[in-house]
């Protein structure tokens, strides 16, 4: 039932993806100790995390081998909801500037 979809990936592919994910995790450690500005560091960290997540979803969870219907049902909706969450940032900055000075 699901075997044909997953038979396309060999164990060698899985090991390559595993090594890539670990290497990206190592890259995040290196990035953390570079003296980058806060927002810049956040963007770099999230970019690396998104690549790791995409690798895990597509290869470990085999979503790339599933039907396009399933991908369309799962991915765009999730991305839309996460994008909508970004509306909170303006309020977060408002709170920062209205807060009393640190004692």
């Amino acid at each position: 039932m699901t075997a044909p979809a997953q038979a396309t990936d060999s164990l060698k592919t899985d090991i390559i993806v595993y090594v890539c994910i670990l290497a990206l995790a190592g890259l995040q450690i290196v990035l953390a100790y570079q003296h980058a500005e806060g927002a810049q560091l956040l963007v770099r960290m999230l970019a690396v995390a998104l690549i790791q997540a995409a690798l895990a979803v597509m290869f470990f969870m085999h979503l790339r081998s599933e039907q396009r219907n399933l991908k369309l049902a799962l991915i765009p909706g999730t991305i839309f909801v996460v994008l909508m969450m970004n509306m909170i940032w303006s309020d977060s900055f408002r709170l920062l500037h209205m807060s009393p000075p640190v004692k």
């Binding site: 699901t2 164990l11 090991i15 994910i21 996460v82 807060s99």
Partner: protein
């Protein structure tokens, strides 16, 4: 016309209708759970970002030793356990029952090791004076957000260990099939995936310099 009076053909067409996604319904349910859980974690991480951004005195307490080194080890264990879970799924699909059980239990052992290291990390921070609403360094909300996010993830890991053990034992007795191992492997990979966001957001953006 009541449902009971419908001709048989009307029901049969519904019963025999093919799955729109060509996957078993149990697998679809797991995917839907994963998506809802992903949005839950995203909301919590956004709330964390909101609070961190709005707090000028957010602490940066994580030293390379022991915290970051511990996190590196935990990441290695969790990602490796995803690989062992993949091998377990492969063995289950090849009807290699002994191999599937061995690799699934190895995955669960990785989860237990991860949980123990996580608890050690928590105890270290508690020992330094971090509580839910106070800490020695800065914004009192640091502890609440740290324990909420890592605690929710740890709960998922412990839940995953229990689920994998139950499914593996059921598979051994013939109660569950190879598909069930595969479906729970999706959950385990998801737990791994969430950790990839927790590490940079909670630990690496707060390293002590």
């Amino acid at each position: 016309m009541s449902e009971a009076n419908l001709p048989l053909g009307a029901h049969a067409s519904g019963i025999l209708e093919a799955s729109p996604f060509a996957i078993p319904s149990k697998k679809l349910v797991m995917w839907l759970f994963i998506i809802s859980d992903a949005v839950t974690f995203a909301a919590i991480l956004f709330a964390y970002g909101y609070i961190k951004n709005a707090s000028p005195n957010w602490p940066q307490p994580f030293k390379f030793f022991p915290s970051i080194l511990n996190v590196m080890l935990m990441t290695f264990i969790l990602v490796s356990s995803s690989l062992t879970m993949l091998i377990a799924t492969r063995a289950a699909r090849a009807a290699d029952k002994a191999g599937a059980l061995r690799w699934t239990f190895l995955t669960a052992a990785g989860g237990i090791l991860f949980a123990l290291l996580h608890i050690r990390e928590w105890l270290g921070l508690i020992g330094e004076g971090v509580r839910l609403f106070q800490n020695p360094w800065g914004s009192p909300l640091f502890g609440a957000t740290f324990f909420a996010i890592t605690g929710l993830h740890l709960t998922h890991v412990i839940g995953g260990v229990i689920a994998l053990t139950v499914v593996a034992l059921g598979y051994k007795r013939g109660r569950y099939k190879a598909d069930d191992i595969e479906i729970w492997s999706l959950y385990w990979h998801f737990v791994d995936l969430v950790w990839m966001f927790v590490v940079p957001m909670v630990y690496l953006l707060n390293v002590a310099r």
